[in-house]
Symmetry: C2
Subunit: 259 residues, 2 copies
């Protein structure tokens, strides 16, 4: 795949630097799948652990993007809002982004093509990566989610009628992470990306896309920190069992994937 | 199950305290299963993250116990040694132990009975626990492992002829952790305990036991930190796939379990 790679590490790949910010995570993905949407931590507390990341909000009230230190809440209508610092989150993954490898793909890529291209930038699939992609997209297909009411439904049910949006000829930023396969149960294995428009007005969890002209920044991260909730709904949930099939379902579109 | 419980937390259970040391882990269990026995960190570096824990040594050279800040290496002959601070580890889990709940079981328990008893002390299976059990045992069955030569065999092969030992009427300490089910791939779900005699002369990974008179100390831990290796054998291994069956095998005795 043709592309220009400017590596700030060694050997043309995203080399993990010696000292950098860990991936910081609050709660685990299995808890979110079980409907644990109650939270103990505010976005203000989360911001002590990163200026870049993704997640959701108390009661599953939309998709979270943390970009350049600013939190955006993309509610069920697909619009992005800035909430107060006291807004809480039941699941989030953040880091202080550095972007040690920069690459400019020379051709238009669909979602699958983009992930394959990024596979070529990373030296190993056995550590974490933070990924930021800025530029112009022919289209980005996103989904968001409406705030849920108690008793909370499981995630697969809450997303059954997820609102989906297609943004055409749109400038914006993809924000997210690669997580290694062995953290299934804790986080989403593989790439997990959210999108926000350049004017920070809309976005969501990415279901499909076609790039026009983008630059990719990736950094490898060898340290992981996780804080587990201290509330009854987390403590009382059944977090055992293999949930990979459900996870695949909630990460995807209601319809066949749009590339 | 009859027992005297002195809880230093609330409500008779091991309550996670507000501020305490995280569980700190180096590497992941899936890498150990794949034969990644090369290591970057010394026990001196590990000791910055805890005074209590378990693991193994460079080249799979025995079972590790970290107790009261002292590292013990239990080699293939079942004997415990103190190694130099420069000894390296490819996998270890440590914390600064506090022991917020103390309990004295009033009857003799086998391994399964002991784990069930501890289940009754923990308020949720969804966080981590550090466990220390001191006292007199009718017997403890342990295994250790001989140092491996390169090219390293996978763990299940390295342990195929594991040396096993039975220590009778023995005083000593069990050291280990409970890890929640969702960390499979990262750590060993459930209880994982190593043993060392009171005179610190022998021990190993615990396969079976019968208590005589012991006291149990448990503490819940809501924070987890993990550092991933920065070496070629870690980066180059296939850490995908479900390895739970293999993990069950390497955690157990060659013969049917002795309780």
């Amino acid at each position: 795949m043709a592309g220009l790679i400017i590596s700030l590490g060694i050997s043309g790949c995203a080399s993990p630097p010696k000292e950098r910010s860990p991936i910081f995570q609050y709660s685990v993905i299995n808890a979110l799948l079980e409907g644990v949407y109650d939270s103990d931590v505010t976005v203000e507390e989360l911001s002590r652990h990163g200026n870049f990341g993704i997640g959701t909000f108390d009661g599953l009230d939309g998709e979270m993007i943390l970009l350049d230190g600013n939190f955006y809440q993309i509610r069920g209508d697909g619009n992005a809002h800035r909430g107060p610092d006291t807004t809480k989150t039941p699941f989030a993954v953040v880091t202080f982004f550095q972007g040690t490898t920069v690459s400019y793909p020379q051709s238009s890529l669909d979602f699958q093509g983009l992930t394959k291209y990024m596979d070529g930038l990373i030296p190993t699939k056995n550590i974490f990566y933070a990924v930021r992609i800025d530029g112009l997209f022919k289209h980005v297909k996103t989904r968001s989610v409406f705030k849920q009411q108690k008793p909370y439904p499981r995630l697969v049910k809450a997303l059954k009628n997820q609102p989906e949006f297609t943004l055409n000829n749109i400038r914006g930023t993809l924000v997210g992470f690669w997580s290694p396969a062995y953290v299934g149960g804790v986080n989403v294995p593989g790439y997990h990306l959210h999108f926000i428009t350049k004017d920070r007005s809309a976005g969501g969890h990415v279901l499909g896309l076609q790039t026009e002209s983008v630059n990719i920044r990736i950094e490898g991260v060898n340290e992981f920190r996780m804080i587990l909730p201290r509330n009854k709904s987390f403590y009382g949930s059944d977090l055992t069992g293999e949930k990979r099939n459900e996870l695949d379902k909630v990460e995807k579109s209601r319809e066949p994937a749009v590339h």
